[in-house]
Subunit: 324 residues, 2 copies
Amino acid sequence: MRYLITGVSGFVGGHYLKYLSTKRAKPRIIGIDGNEPKWDFLANSFRKNIEFHKRSLLNRNFVFALIKKFKPDYIVNLASYSSVDYSWKHPAECFVNNTTIFLNLVEAVRKAKIKTKILSVGSSEEYGIVETRNIPLTEKTPLNPTNPYAVARVSQEQISRIYVAAFKIPIICTRSFNHIGPRQRDIFAVSSFAKQIIKSKKGKIKKIVCGNLDVIRDFIDVRDVIKAYDLLLQKGRTGEVYNVCSGEGHKLSEVLGMLQEIANTNIPVKGKAELMRPVDNPVIVGSSGKLKKDTGFRQEFDLFRSLTDILEYWQSVLATKLTR
Amino acid sequence: MRYLITGVSGFVGGHYLKYLSTKRAKPRIIGIDGNEPKWDFLANSFRKNIEFHKRSLLNRNFVFALIKKFKPDYIVNLASYSSVDYSWKHPAECFVNNTTIFLNLVEAVRKAKIKTKILSVGSSEEYGIVETRNIPLTEKTPLNPTNPYAVARVSQEQISRIYVAAFKIPIICTRSFNHIGPRQRDIFAVSSFAKQIIKSKKGKIKKIVCGNLDVIRDFIDVRDVIKAYDLLLQKGRTGEVYNVCSGEGHKLSEVLGMLQEIANTNIPVKGKAELMRPVDNPVIVGSSGKLKKDTGFRQEFDLFRSLTDILEYWQSVLATKLTR
């Protein structure tokens, strides 16, 4: 099987490679990213299967030539300007870059006349502010994007629909909910909390700094996300949209409490205005019924397990730093 | 009043200038277009008010500098890759160019921190294939775009919503229905029919070639469209979307019949496969209730008047050509 994975140096990209290394016999992989990867968690023997290109996906000629030559069975588009905060600061860049990257990929497949399945990764942000009676969100819930990043993701989904209907390009769309897991950067809340807890245990800080703890989110372990993605490429229906989520809502304050419990700490918490967003959605919880029904997906990592692994990850990262 | 009009060399742009020449005392106008204009229908004295730039709106630095310096009261964005047929052949270009042009304009206003009102011109194509029970279409009818051009227009509207909500940029959106009127190019059905009728009267052709005559459309005279646009800039509510339409549906065959009646002809008609579209919406008729309620808009040009003027236009154009 030939995989083209964009955004391969990132959090999700790394976990996708890890998954393929255990589940697929000798996949051929081309990875693209603007940043060099750190793949120290992958076996050297597996890394030999990966051809890495440090290039921009906005470079259309490069994308076209590569896809025409490689003829991937699957394209997993993980590349994106995915920070909501960034999208408020640079709305035009976020919108244009996200949609252009996606269009470059699907146009390359269309023009090369190949039978590549494309995974179009969207976001639960597409639902925007939702009414409580619509929780859990199903794929039929009306979209109401409230930030530039979310608008870009909705556009990508609409573009997908057109390419499926008119050009028969097999695209499967996701609306992926909040990822958590080891190796996630600490600009994301849960990862940041875990890191702060470990630092505090080492006496480096005295308080946990946080944003709005009242929001309710549907957290799903990145390793389950990856499993869902690969199942969708095998069994998902072309042109359909799938929530990738756990189906459970947890208040951020509850998650922070669980982290403290697992770590056996009780560190004081301090809200910080800069971490609050201009518009925040109070509740985002999805239904994973369609995903389960069509692909047989079952969640492996519950919240407790994820949080334990995240704490262990920071424990090991910060230990390494201290002993260096 | 200072107007920045994009796509000023086109059909709608010309009529907008004509409108301003009679309705506004000494407006200052900057017009931008990739094509040179033909403004022989404008008085020379009025043309002196217009500063014309033959430039691409994809050139962001140019757009930013111009808007920062000119500080327009109004931006009327008529520039677009507006052909549905083109959008099927070049889906990516159509999408990216339409959204990028729009984003360049709104970003320029945001960054210059000026109070410019922006008219975001959308299309009835945004509604897509609609159920008969939803006719006439109101602004609350769900959108279901079925071609790349329509997807671009929906995105533009969603981007507008974000810029209004988060950055307080005063944008008013339209969904404009099928324009007709003198000076429209003959790639559009009604203009093409009128031209063919005049040519046939002169013995140049024997048959009228046409596409699908069964579609029902809401035709509105371009001079009424322009009046609606200018009223919306004065009285429309920021962040709102308005149908710009007549509220009446006419089968294309009926329009062709009226043209023949007015011209006193009975020319045979021949369907042509190349003029049929991959996906065609059978019925598109809008409600103009919101536009009328908020702006006091009243239609001046009924279908009979429009068709008469269109025939007269082609009569005069083809007479000139023959006597040259």
